[in-house]
Amino acid sequence: MLYAIKIAVRYLTANKAQTSLLVFGVAVGVFIFIFMSALIGGLAEFIMARTAGDLSHVTIEAESQDPPLLIPSPAETILLVQQKDSTRTAQLSTIDAFIPIMEALPGVLATSQQITGGGFLKHGALARQVSVTGLEPDKVSAIVNLKSYLIEGSAELGTGTILIGKTLAEDMSFRLGQTVRLQADTGIDASLIVSGIFETGSGGYDRRQAYISLATARTLFAMPQGVSKVEIKLTDLYDAAATAARIEAVTGLPATPWTENAAQLLDALKAQGQTGLLLKTFALVTIIIGVASALLLSTYRRRPEIGIMRAMGTPRSFVIFVFVSQGAIIGLVGGLLGAAIGYLVLLMFPTREEFRPGNLPIDITQGAYGIAILLTTIGAIAASILPARSASRVDPVTAIGQ
């Protein structure tokens, strides 16, 4: 139907100002669509990277034995609860054999064996309570990317070194290379050298967390073998539930996916995604209404011509095709233009790598340009169906007889 397209193009170019305005209107709608896609996508990725990115995606933790609850017999009225022994850390004693098996599972990026416990960091008269994590020296940045948060020193953990947060360092006026004393909850203590200071931006972490090597932790927490937990990083963090189930099946160890403790985050992301979808739908509806009304006006203006065409033996289907083609062309051109404008505007925002807190986390790669163009074209075609049908029903007698 090359000839119908020729006529459609002729109709569109006959009134350049009006067509330009219409195409520009469509482009603005497409731009909003693309901008929302990039913003919602970037925001989700940013929030994920900030939260889930530094999380363990699947965690295997030794089940700490709950203190037995003494259920009172009906005759007695005393309820006795035994205090949990906080100094005795639960441990995974047979983990070594399972590590290679877990690392071989598809989707598993890295594992990190850890010994965790509490303690006090002391310097002169000052003391601060800290959470201590013992890490394998070659896997310091496997879960939390410590390397990227380091502001002083190095992220390497050797025997007798400790990494602490910036707030803690400031509180205690610790400096790099200084020797500090760490007393574990077990009562054992050790002198350690501050080899690095990190700043994650998360208050609790920077104030409370300290990292030491796994070997040092064994001594401090009196765990000659085994670990307190294994943290696992996946290639796809959305795959956590399935992978956790697989790990449990293979090893029999209790594996918890991160999503289990992040329902709020996931809900927030979902709500955010739905808001974006709603805005994008509005953008599309606006495009459809705009195109439909413009074409309807055009069919009205061209009634005499359509009458002449029909009188000369033009089938109704041809008339429909002429108007649907106009819709398709407007949608396609407007879509391409809007996508181009969208891309250029998004270029002005910092890239994902350059991104800093405080800017809009817009991700240019998530602009959904193809979908925007496709949906706009389909929408514009749909919008043209009503005008096209009305054009095809023009009665030549009344149209010409005016």
């Binding site: 000839y3 011509e305 089938p315 007698v397 010409i400």
Partner: protein
């Protein structure tokens, strides 16, 4: 059936219902022979346009029979009529004749292009020939809106002839033109009729136009009176 091109019997056409009902054509009989050049005369409101519209298959009669080229056109579907019009009937109207966004040539070849789905070189050649014949050799690629009234009507005649139709219906084709342009258009119609045997039915109020036709058909009170 005889050899007549158009055969109309006991044609009735009314508009509206009840109080508002207007009976326009009443028991009208008409036969056109192939090659005839006829004028359709009658007072204003006598039903000339209505008859031409029915003959052109753009409107159906209330009752009666109408056949052309032996085909019954009162029972055909819209799609069949569309094709029939394209192949066998040409139109020239008084107003709103040309497609404004197209050149003279594009207007002329439209009836062929719309059937063939594109503007074939053969159609372009015939379109140029027709325009040249209409004395418009220097206006072939002119935008139709920039043509004078007389030129527009000549382009319309060329377009009506494009598909070599058996019948050309013209409703006051010169009604809008000055005497000179009107004569020019009628002269061309006469030539085509003589040379190619195309049948013309031309409605007019102008007796001098009517006398240029070999036959005069008068309509009054909804029927042919002579």
């Amino acid at each position: 059936m005889n050899h007549s091109l158009v055969d109309v019997r006991e044609l009735y056409k009314s508009f509206g219902h009840g109080e508002a009902k207007t009976q326009v054509l009443k028991n009208l009989d008409l036969t056109l022979q192939t090659g005839e050049l006829s004028a359709l005369l009658g007072p204003s409101g006598s039903g000339k346009s209505t008859l031409l519209t029915i003959l052109g298959t753009l409107m159906q009669p209330t009752s009666g029979s109408y056949s052309m080229l032996g085909t019954d056109l009162t029972t055909a579907s819209d799609h069949e009529l569309t094709t029939f019009r394209n192949l066998h009937i040409g139109f020239v109207f008084q107003f709103h004749n040309l497609l404004p966004d197209f050149t003279a040539l594009e207007n002329v070849i439209f009836p062929t292009a719309v059937r063939e789905g594109r503007e074939r070189p053969s159609a372009v050649t015939r379109g140029r020939e027709l325009l040249t014949r209409m004395g418009l050799a220097n206006r072939i690629d002119f935008p139709s809106t920039k043509l004078s009234g007389g030129q527009k009507q000549r382009v319309a005649v060329a377009r009506a002839l494009m598909n070599k139709p058996e019948l050309v219906l013209a409703d006051e084709p010169t009604g809008n033109l000055d005497k000179e342009s009107a004569n020019q258009v009628m002269e061309l119609i006469g030539q085509i009729n003589r040379d190619e045997g195309t049948t013309f039915l031309i409605s007019t109020h102008d007796e001098s136009i009517a006398t240029r036709c070999r036959r005069q058909i008068r309509v009054d009170e909804g029927r042919v009176t002579g």
